[in-house]
Amino acid sequence: MRMSPARLALTVYFVIGVIFLIFPLIMLVPLSFGESQFLQFPPQKLSWKWYAEFFNDDSWLRATLLSLRVGIGATIISLVVGTLAAVALVRGQFVGRGLLMSLMVAPLILPTVILALALYILFLRWRWVDNALALTAAHAVIALPYVILVVSTALKGFDITIERAARILGAGPVRAFVSVTLPYLMPSLFAGGLLAFFASFDELIVTMFVSGGLETLPVRIWNDLKLRLDPTVAAVACMLIVVSVAGMGLAEYFRQRNLRRYHNS
């Protein structure tokens, strides 16, 4: 099939647009594998120097470990709390349901700096600053909207008569939910969990306000960027891009799986 001139122009525009979106990310690859402090074209010599720098530096590793711990904690909290709330919000019939839903997804829209300031003031009073557990709880608030949105969308597509059938056959409400509805929700729980994890793992602003001396990975990167431009950050960023693209891609895959089932039924 031959392309019309208009379509050809649009294709060219699309390619330019995609280059604009992706190109800055790709620039990091030669920088992270180069020898020098600065970007050189073509790269003079390939080396793993900056990657080694990351793995040999205690502060980078500690920051990564803290980010993982906080991220996993926040994921577990938001997944449990969010799934329970989603069940009530989708199935319950009560006044203010819509308002409650908006409230629970509000952290997604609210400018983060407002929440950061609010939590900072509160944590200072409670002496919660510099506390990894408190940081995890704060991250759970930020991760909660993702779980609620993904799980409630999946629940709306679930045929509740299947769960009713289990009830009629003698299962209690909890057992019916766990053995019938939960398996159906699994892909969405994976998707919601992954989104929640990355919401926490990438979080910078709230963490900077409330973490005191604790350094998560984004805070470590931020401190580096404020002081100097060291290609170690490029190496870290390259690894993070791979990890988040894989993780978010997986989340998208699981989310689509629940959606597709909904459309087929």
Partner: protein, 275 residues
């Protein structure tokens, strides 16, 4: 019936505790800090109105958010259109090209612009190599850098929301318009464009609201002349230690966000029901 009510309350309890203690209650603290000292006072607001810096930053933030939104919509719409009108087999792959940058954190995408626009960065190297400039020119810490990066960061959101509305448009309507004698241009302008507007409105609203609260990108790529409302709040908290003033600024940012959200709901009442 009452057992059902009890169950609903039980299911909601953990969420209410989390959101209550770590979202509503702290926000209330901000409200209190800006309006009470210890009795009700508008002193902080009077200070705000009298502060040329705060007013300038507020105006600048609003203009930046508006500019970035318009740029993202205008440049993103044709990309969404291209995606929506390409063959279904290609479509799924092409959409991932848009999602790929979207999945990377804002901090890292901002950093990539520091690399591209820096003194030794790619743009400067290319410009010097072609002989257009003699020495490195200042690209980092300018308004241009902030605009470029913010459009790159937010455009995928606009593209995805426009795209998801566009693929729902019935192709038969376009064909009908063509059969009735419309040129491709007319069919687009009179049928496709109006039907795609809800997606444009959603994308623009999201883009605008997110832009209002941008912190990382202006902080890293903008200079002193690109301090935004979020950065000023941070400055008041950590540098001048003026918390009540920071709280007032936060309240202004919150109000702006809510107004933008309200306007969007008003203009686009035909929203899918969420509940």
């Amino acid at each position: 019936m009452s057992r059902k009510v009890a169950r609903t309350i039980l299911l909601l309890a953990p969420g209410l505790i989390l959101i209550g203690f770590l979202f509503l209650f702290p926000l209330f603290g901000v409200l209190k800090l800006s309006l009470f000292n210890p009795g009700f006072t508008t002193a902080s607001f009077e200070k705000l109105v009298a502060s040329p810096v705060a007013l300038l930053v507020m105006e600048r933030t609003f203009i930046l958010a508006l500019t970035v939104t318009v740029l993202s919509v205008v440049t993103g719409y044709p990309i969404a259109y291209y995606l929506a009108t390409s063959s279904p087999r290609w479509r799924t792959i092409l959409v991932y090209l848009i999602l790929l940058p979207f999945w990377t954190s804002i901090l890292i995408r901002t950093y990539t612009w520091m690399v591209v626009l820096g003194r030794e960065g790619l743009v400067n190297s290319v410009l010097q190599w072609t002989g257009l400039i003699d020495g490195p020119t200042q690209l980092l810490f300018t308004g241009l850098a902030v605009h470029l990066a913010m459009v790159q960061i937010l455009m995928p959101i606009v593209i995805i929301t426009c795209y998801s509305t566009m693929i729902e448009i019935d192709e038969g309507l376009i064909r009908a318009a063509r059969t009735l004698g419309a040129t491709p241009g007319q069919a687009f302008a009179k049928v496709f464009l109006p039907l795609s507007l809800p997606g444009v409105a959603t994308g623009a609203a999201m883009c605008f609201i997110l832009s209002l609260g941008f912190y990382i990108t202006p902080a890293l790529l903008g200079g002193r002349r690109n301090v935004m409302l979020s950065n000023l709040i941070d400055f008041e908290v950590h540098q001048t230690l003026n918390w009540s003033f920071a709280s007032v600024l936060a309240l202004v940012l919150l109000a702006a966000t809510l107004v933008a959200l309200g306007l969007f709901r008003l203009v686009a009442p035909r929203r899918r029901d969420q509940g």
